[in-house]
Symmetry: C2
Subunit: 198 residues, 2 copies
């Protein structure tokens, strides 16, 4: 979002095939819920392509980056590092402190995939848990971002979108951007829904 400082989500580890869908959902969630950029392992090219495709169609700005030096990237981060893990401190207890740190500089949010090396727990400025229960890295990221931005991310405007979903009480409506009051995109729109958006 156009916050004072950037918010970057890093997906730590990726097993091609098995993790494709989860990594894609991490990236799409980062985009939809207010991050400026997602950094994926360089073997997650397929997920990167999907996220870029959605950004091309539904708007940005949102950057997708593939890197082979994830550990060096987190180690060299000039700002605050949050590591989301079920072993960390409750999000409701530390979110204020994280927000205060983010007001002073950029924030890197690390979402584990394969096992995160133990010393990473010491390197992170905050180890944050969205409940201390096992559930989903996508769910944890979503709740964390919604709380970090205190809901402002839900009001974000998108630039350079080809299409836009018009919220409706019932039914599906997608308009081509530029149309003041376009026709119902219905099945012609991004019919997949992706279960997504919610």
């Amino acid at each position: 979002m156009q916050e004072s400082h950037g918010t970057v989500v890093l997906r730590y580890g990726h097993r091609p095939g098995r993790d494709d869908r989860m990594t894609t959902h991490v990236g799409l969630t980062a985009r939809a819920l207010g991050a400026d950029r997602v950094v994926l392992p360089d073997n997650a090219g397929q997920s990167a392509e999907t996220i870029r495709d959605i950004t091309d169609r539904f708007g940005g700005p949102f950057a997708v980056e593939l890197r082979d030096d994830q550990r060096a990237f987190t180690g060299g981060w000039d700002g605050t590092v949050v590591h989301l893990t079920m072993y960390g401190e409750p999000v409701q207890d530390v979110e204020g402190e994280v927000r205060a740190a983010h007001a002073d500089g950029p924030l890197l949010v690390v979402v584990g995939g394969e096992k995160v090396p133990f010393d990473f727990y010491e390197e992170a400025d905050f180890n944050v848990a969205v409940t201390n229960q096992p559930h989903s890295e996508v769910a944890g990221l979503a709740v964390f971002l919604d709380r970090l931005f205190e809901g402002r991310e839900l009001e974000r405007e998108w630039a350079d979108a080809d299409r836009r979903v018009v919220p409706m009480e019932t039914g599906k409506r997608v308009v081509e951007t530029g149309e003041a009051d376009g026709s119902d995109g219905g099945a012609g729109g991004d019919g997949s829904d992706r279960g997504g958006g919610a």
Copy 2:
């Protein structure tokens, strides 16, 4: 949670193999973030097993149900039906109304998998979007539940757990339940992390 009325999450549609992990994450997210029960299609037995296993180890109460009559189940629901979809009304605009309805009776939250039939949009009391962007049904469910319960779900106590994660600033600590101050469970605990909990 021990709210006045039950909260049930229904996963609509499931493709064995391809959807296993997403369906499992929907169920684990429902459990961790305050629902009382998840209803899965009857071909999602593997996901049901995983969710039950987590409940056995980390506590409940939380019920997992497999049904082959999902459409009849939603149609016969005696209470409010929320359908999460990127085409719906913004969660921030309707969450108060949904909460008010839930104060009067049970709530069914439907999470799409395969394409949800169009007439379901008309059947639902609320079509709710967590942003009108394509992202992840798991992310949408997580933000919806956190807002529905206004964060109270994060303080939930778990019954009949074999083990409990102790929140820590750094590191991993899992204690066997009953131990007043158990030893570090470390790798001996549920080391998988599942990227989970956050």
